[in-house]
Each structure stands twice: as structure tokens, then as C-alpha cells.
Amino acid sequence: MACFLVPMGEAIVTTVMKKVVEKNEREAGVKEGSQTRVSWSRKLSWLNRLLWGGVLLLALEHIWHGEVVLWPPFLTAMNNPADVGPMLHEVATIGTGMAVFVTIVWLIMISIADQKAKAIHPAVKAKADA
């Protein structure tokens, strides 16, 4: 009914976080590729893209099924008081599940990326020293 609202809320928070982290990294002079880890702004941009991409396509699916409309109150479940309870339940269960699952996949992704960056860095250094 409106499950995509939870990942959307997370996407708004992570977008703001990315902007702040990016600014801090720029001030600290962090350069991409100059360290053994992938920068946090880059990692957060991956999460943002996953979340916003999913939210956009899910919003389209909800419009297709008539659960979301482009005029107030936007959620058709809001028109009937009996539908509000199930809608909130769906947001709390499926919506939270979606946000948590995407975040877990992203955490696995960034840990693999960090491991790969660590493995590449000594190899590149050794090649340069030789």
C-alpha cells in the first residue's frame, strides 16, 4: 500500500549524510584511490542509488495498482479509515523489511569493496617499488 515510504525516508537521511560526509572529506583532503579503503561518500552514494532506484520503481508499481495517486491525500488507503490500520502495518513490516534488507546487502557490498581495495593497495605499492 505504501511500503516504499520507509526506504524513501532512509534515502532522504542517507542523501543528507552523503552531502555532509562529502563536504568533510573535501575539507580533509581525502582523495579517491589514495587510500586502502573506498571513501565513505562513495559508499553512501551506492546506498543512495539502491534506495532511490528502488523507491522510484516501487512508486510506479503503486501508481499502477491504484494505491498511490498524484493528488492529495496521495495514498488511496487514506480515503477509507478502515484501510489506514492495514496500511500502517504494511509500512511497519514490509517497508522496514525492505529498508533493512537493502542496507544489509549494501553492508556486504562495502565490506567486499574494502577487502578488495586493501588487497589491491599492497600489490600496486609492491609493483611501484620494484
Binding site: 532506484g53 520503481l57 499502477w64 514490509i94
Partner: protein
């Protein structure tokens, strides 16, 4: 069915991105993330609906298939808009200069 079609689109986009990697002039990583984000979210939706309501895991109907294609098309439109705005080949810059 839209879940399967989006997952297939995500796989194809990832293969195309990997073939061209590390160069990513056309921002194919964005297209991959759009499709993977939706695939992961629909996976959770399908699993939870299957566990709570039962029934068939995949909804194979004409409506769901049509929705799958519309979703893939919408993902492509979003990627295309982002590509044209960033204009990596500086096409608009060159056109306006002439």
C-alpha cells in the same frame, strides 16, 4: 512477473556494465543500482507476502508482465535523464558552442 523482469534487467545491466568497466562513461552503474534496488525491495515484498498470505510466489499474469516492461522502461528513462543532465560527452556544450 515484474519481479523476474526487473531482476533480469538488473543482471543484463550489470553484465553490460562489467564488460565496459572500469570505464563507465555512460553511467551504467546508475542503471544497475536502480534495477537492483527495486529487485531487492520486491524480493522482500514477495517473500513476506508468501509467508503471511501464502499462494503463489510469482504472479504470472498479463498485467504483472506488462508492469514489468513498464518498470524496466521507466528505469531506462530515469537513467537517460540523469545521463543527459550530466552529459559526459559534453554534447550539449559542443552544440551550444557551434
Amino acid at each position: 512477473m515484474f519481479f523476474i523482469i526487473t531482476a533480469l534487467a538488473a543482471i543484463v545491466a550489470t553484465i553490460v556494465w562489467y564488460v565496459n568497466a572500469p570505464e563507465d562513461k555512460y553511467k551504467l552503474n546508475l542503471l544497475c543500482f536502480i534495477y537492483w534496488g527495486a529487485t531487492l525491495m520486491w524480493f522482500v515484498d514477495h517473500v513476506m507476502a508468501f509467508l503471511t498470505e501464502g499462494g503463489e510466489f510469482f504472479e504470472i499474469t498479463l498485467d504483472a508482465t506488462l508492469l514489468g516492461f513498464v518498470v524496466v522502461l521507466f528505469g531506462l528513462i530515469v537513467w537517460l535523464i540523469a545521463l543527459l543532465i550530466s552529459d559526459p560527452k559534453k554534447v550539449f556544450h559542443k552544440l551550444l558552442k557551434n
